[in-house]
């Protein structure tokens, strides 16, 4: 590998957001989305109850259902289950790569999805978080198992760590006295995912 390649990879572009590992239960508990900074390209984040924010996520689960819900153009909705709940992923013309996979795939399959978290508000005023996939690929069970263990570890790390001052203030503001209950549901989701993994491994 030549020097110039190593240099160009360290140019002054903003560093890429890491992909947070989280279970579906935690994404369903999201109630707050915000923009960090000014300008058109300021990144969007959702507040995670385990005590950090997320712009991009990486998930692996079982593809349950794929449906084209677009009226004129193709617009795919994929439902992915991770044993704690369902993730919803939406892919249209701007998610070309994911849309190409979704137009051909036949559930069930284990799928790995990387994407940005987006939210929309229901008529009742609830916030629903979903994934706008950047990549969407079929993987095997070993990778799914590894993801469950890694996601359990990283979720527990977040719950055990002291959140930053900014995040702590947002958690207080958004969840108030429900925070303990919400965090407990995230912890219980970790237990469920690990128990499910153990049962599968015993089969």
């Amino acid at each position: 590998m030549s020097e110039s390649e190593s240099n160009s990879s360290q140019s002054n572009r903003p560093s890429r957001e890491q992909a947070v590992r989280l279970f579906a239960e935690e994404l369903q508990q999201v109630v707050h989305e915000y923009t960090d900074g000014d300008g058109d390209y300021a990144p969007n984040y959702v507040l995670l109850p385990s005590g950090r924010n997320a712009n991009r996520v990486f998930i692996i689960g079982t593809l349950m259902e794929v449906e084209d819900i677009g009226e004129d153009d193709e617009y795919w909705r994929a439902t992915i289950n991770d044993s704690t709940g369902n993730f919803m992923a939406y892919a249209g013309q701007y998610q070309e790569e994911a849309a190409a996979t979704l137009s051909q795939i036949e559930p069930p399959e284990f799928v790995a999805v990387t994407g940005k978290v987006k939210t929309f508000e229901t008529d009742e005023g609830d916030l629903l978080a979903n994934i706008r996939p950047e990549t969407f690929e079929i993987v095997d069970e070993d990778h799914r198992d590894r993801w469950v263990v890694e996601t359990a570890e990283q979720t527990l790390d977040r719950l055990e760590a002291e959140p930053s001052e900014d995040i702590a203030a947002l958690l207080e503001e958004q969840y108030g006295e429900d925070l303990d209950d919400v965090q407990d549901s995230v912890r219980e989701a970790v237990v469920r995912a690990l128990e499910n993994l153990q049962e599968n491994q015993e089969d």
Partner: protein, 316 residues
């Protein structure tokens, strides 16, 4: 690095305070500088050696010889920099770095010579005997305040080095440095292939070029991918051999795929489903956010202690 000894001597004499100017001749200073040059001491260190001798002979400090404003004495300590950012000579800098290697040294004027590494890159260092810095231990990390950057030529190649002289201060560092030259092993998920993966073309200098390039090119196979651990994001580079092994596509096969499709990008398209969304263990050198892989393997069945994790989750 050679210096113009006569010119240096003239400059030095001109900078002397008036009260010493009559006692010191250019010839005298020239001789003193030359005596260091003859011992293999180069550049600024030879001049500084002559200043030390003068200061002894005249029983006067540097400040007295040149006045308070003498620029060779640092006003406060030099700024800390990354070794990777050192690219011009005669700069005063401070480093936080590990001594990764000590080389054999048979020169009396040099106390130690070896390699410093701060995780961004590595650089040769020379500690002059008169610098009075303590002896280094291999593998220990130090704060080095006020070292001078130098250019050195080796086999026609110019490389940077840092010299430790009488203005240098060295302290043991509290921080741990992971040397850039040390291979590390990391497990993570490969999240996407970046452009310039698959079948690529390189020019005569090995630079990757696009299809508009009009000069001589050679085909190569490589992968440039986003590798993410959940905490950190890297760009991992896989060379031809590893790319062939992990994808099962050889360079020759890739060329014929591109010929059939009249499009090189089919090779990357073919590789994506084999790699994206999967866990791998990579071993290699890390430079900044880039990993240059020497080994790259798909992770097998998970071997974590799930019982222990369950205990942790239930007891939280």
């Amino acid at each position: 690095m050679s210096i113009d000894v006569n010119q240096e001597a003239q400059d030095l004499v001109e900078r002397l305070e008036d009260e010493y100017a009559d006692d010191v001749t250019v010839e005298d200073v020239e001789e003193k500088i030359q005596s260091f040059v003859d011992f293999g001491v180069t550049g600024d260190e030879a001049v500084q050696g002559a200043v030390s001798k003068l200061s002894n002979e005249l029983d006067a400090s540097r400040g007295e010889l040149f006045g308070e404003s003498d620029s060779d004495e640092q006003q406060g300590d030099a700024d800390f920099v990354s070794i990777a950012d050192i690219n011009s000579e005669d700069e005063w800098v401070s480093l936080n770095a590990q001594v990764t290697h000590l080389w054999d040294n048979d020169s009396d004027s040099i106390s130690q010579v070896g390699v410093l590494d701060d995780g961004s890159s590595s650089i040769k260092f020379v500690a002059w005997s008169k610098s009075d810095v303590p002896l280094f231990t291999e593998g220990e990390t130090y704060d080095l305040l006020n070292v001078v950057t130098r250019k050195e030529e080796y086999d026609g190649e110019t490389r940077m080095a840092v010299h430790l002289n009488s203005a240098t201060e060295v302290e043991m560092s509290e921080s741990e440095v992971t040397p850039s030259t040390e291979e590390q092993t990391i497990t993570g998920a490969l999240l996407s292939l970046q452009s310039g993966s698959g079948l690529i073309e390189r020019d005569e200098d090995g630079q990757v070029v696009d299809s508009d390039y009009e000069g001589e090119t050679e085909n190569d196979l490589r992968i440039r991918a986003v590798f993410d651990t959940g905490d950190s994001v890297y760009t991992v580079y896989l060379g031809q051999e590893i790319t062939e092994a992990i994808t099962g596509i050889t360079l020759e096969e890739a060329k014929s795929m591109a010929r059939d499709a009249l499009d090189r990008s089919v090779v990357q398209d073919e590789m994506e489903p084999m790699l994206v969304g999967k866990y791998f263990t990579v071993t290699g050198n890390i430079r900044g956010d880039a990993i240059f892989a020497s080994e790259f393997e798909e992770s097998g069945p998970v071997d974590a202690d799930v019982d222990n994790l369950l205990v942790r989750a239930r007891s939280l």
